[in-house]
Amino acid sequence: MSIELSGITKRFGAFVAVDGVDLHVETGELLALLGPSGSGKTSLLRIIAGLEAPDAGTVAFHGEDATDRHARERRVGFVFQHYALFGHLTIFENVAFGLRVRPRAHRLTDAQIRRKVTTLLELVQLDGLADRHPRELSGGQRQRIALARALAVEPRVLLLDEPFGALDARVRQELRRWLRRLHDEVRLTSVFVTHDQEEALEVADRVVVMNRGRVEQVGTPEQVYERPASAFVVEFLGGVNRLPGAAGDGRVTFARPHEFAVERTPSPAALPGRLVHGAAVGPVARLEFALDGHASTINVALTPERYRQLALRPGEVAYLTPLRRHAFATA
């Protein structure tokens, strides 16, 4: 089930949350809406779900215009950031909820519901907890139940609003991978919202980078990382250094920490830098250089072997050559 967004605009008072967004989501793909808070990604997600109405633009599912259809009738699954589980119902009843509220004509029998719910609980690996209540579960477990609940009604599209935002780092990592595996199994068109670029790049088939209500770039994780379309994208994805440019040339240049060559000897294109601080703990050695006449320091990442080879001490000068530059015209 593909999703087609056309000219979506949404305002809250004077604040423009979404500004003329066009987006096409392929059937079966896992798409990430990535951006800082206020970028409009959650509003966009809620507009797809029907939880907000756009001021302009259309939403279509597989070619069928759904803009005026109520959230109840869109057959989307929505997973809320804070789970929104029904605290007074058991886990079983939470997952079964969507099946129980169907109009009598379409309702399944109790046995059918039980079978479906059990299958789903097995899918999210929580089948032993059917009789517990949400308050007895951990954050990660609750999130999986929220997912199972959304899947129970066989939605055409799955929408997740910062699904791992409320969890701590390690659980987040595990669930991230788990979601990816689940998606590969179920192959449901899915859109998830996140502000964590690492998460988006690791999990998604394609990434939509948003800023201030607009789409900055759409592409695979490789595309947005290697070939960023704007200064915003390159700064938002991964640490990046702003290089000093020639005055008045109207451009801003970036280089990533791991894309520098560092030598003790000067060369034509190299920038001389004084080492402020260097540490080689773990798989990456991080060095911080100060450049003359440049306000901020340059962060460089080297392999620990190269770092030991150079044997630089704080205060010593080295020569940095960016192996890759990303340059953009200043807005």
Partner: protein, 296 residues
């Protein structure tokens, strides 16, 4: 002793005092004693007094005062009024809380302030305004007289005045509760396909059931115990338009003190039951507080 070690001694004394609760024991005892004395004079002793005076003439007289025909009809009337006023105000409270908590609209804070109005109005004035409308010289007085309907000095007037003074109770409990719970669960239910009433019945109501019960209990206590407003509209007709509190007044004014306190003790019992239920609910809500963490 130099300054720093004096300071050190002060700090460690303060530390140990804090660990015990902050003040020296005698201050604490004095404070507790003072507080309890105040509560005793204004709460405990009056309560005990009611019971003592009620039983002054013995258990037989106590029971006789309660089963006496005028007392029985007062009991019946009081129950009837509560049975009408509480459900109506419950429906209102739920409607008002739903609109205020789940939606945004202009004039919301005005609505909430208006809901609080009956709390700030003197009960006597509450009765007065209904007399102004339904009394013989009131707005509807002529029309009512022409159709031989009595509101003031009859049961309908008492019901109306009681409704007025108890309007806010359920709403005041539900509004903050439903606002704190937000709209996410209802939204989740909607996306899962639930209709309006389904969402309300299956999701909203269970989440607010204790607050609802709390509000109903308080509303009921006030409805049964209202005196000032009812006094104005009632006409004090024994056996017909006397509620329990009015009956107490009549007995007292006739110097039938033991009987008055006997009936009063019934009302005091109602108050204690109300407090006990209130406590029980607060305990239950405390146990279920983890519910709030689900929203984290």
């Amino acid at each position: 002793m130099d300054a720093s070690s004096t300071r050190g001694a002060d700090v460690s004394r303060a530390h140990s005092a804090l660990r015990q609760g902050g003040e020296p024991a005698w201050v604490r005892a004095l404070l507790i004693g003072g507080a309890l004395a105040f509560l005793a004079v204004f709460l405990f002793v009056p309560l005990a007094f009611v019971l003592t005076e009620a039983l002054k003439k013995g258990l037989g007289a106590f029971v006789a005062a309660l089963v006496e025909p005028d007392a029985m009809s007062a009991i019946r009337l009081t129950l009837l009024i509560a049975a009408i006023a509480v459900p109506l105000n419950l429906a209102f409270g739920v409607a008002a809380a739903w609109s205020v908590a789940k939606f945004e609209f202009r004039g919301k804070s005005l609505l909430v302030t208006l809901i609080d109005l009956p709390f700030s109005v003197s009960p006597v004035i509450a009765g007065l305004i209904y007399v102004l409308i339904f009394g013989l010289q009131g707005w509807l007085g002529g029309w009512l007289a022409g159709h031989d309907v009595r509101v003031i000095f009859a049961v309908p007037g008492i019901v109306l005045a009681t409704i007025f003074v108890t309007v806010p109770f359920v709403a005041r409990e539900l509004i903050p509760l439903m606002q704190a719970q937000g709209t996410e669960q209802e939204e989740a239910a909607t996306v899962l396909g639930a209709g309006g009433w389904q969402t309300f019945r299956r999701i909203t109501l269970p989440n607010v059931k204790w607050g609802l019960l709390y509000g109903v209990i308080l509303c009921n206590a006030r409805a049964m115990g209202e005196f000032g407003a009812v006094s104005v509209v009632s006409g004090h007709i024994r056996g017909a338009t006397n509620t329990l509190p009015l009956h107490v007044e009549i007995l007292y004014n006739e110097y039938q003190f033991a009987a008055a306190f006997a009936v009063a003790s019934l009302l005091a019992l109602l108050a204690l039951v109300t407090l006990a239920l209130k406590l029980a609910i607060e305990r239950r809500v405390g146990r279920e507080r983890p519910l709030a963490e689900i929203r984290r």
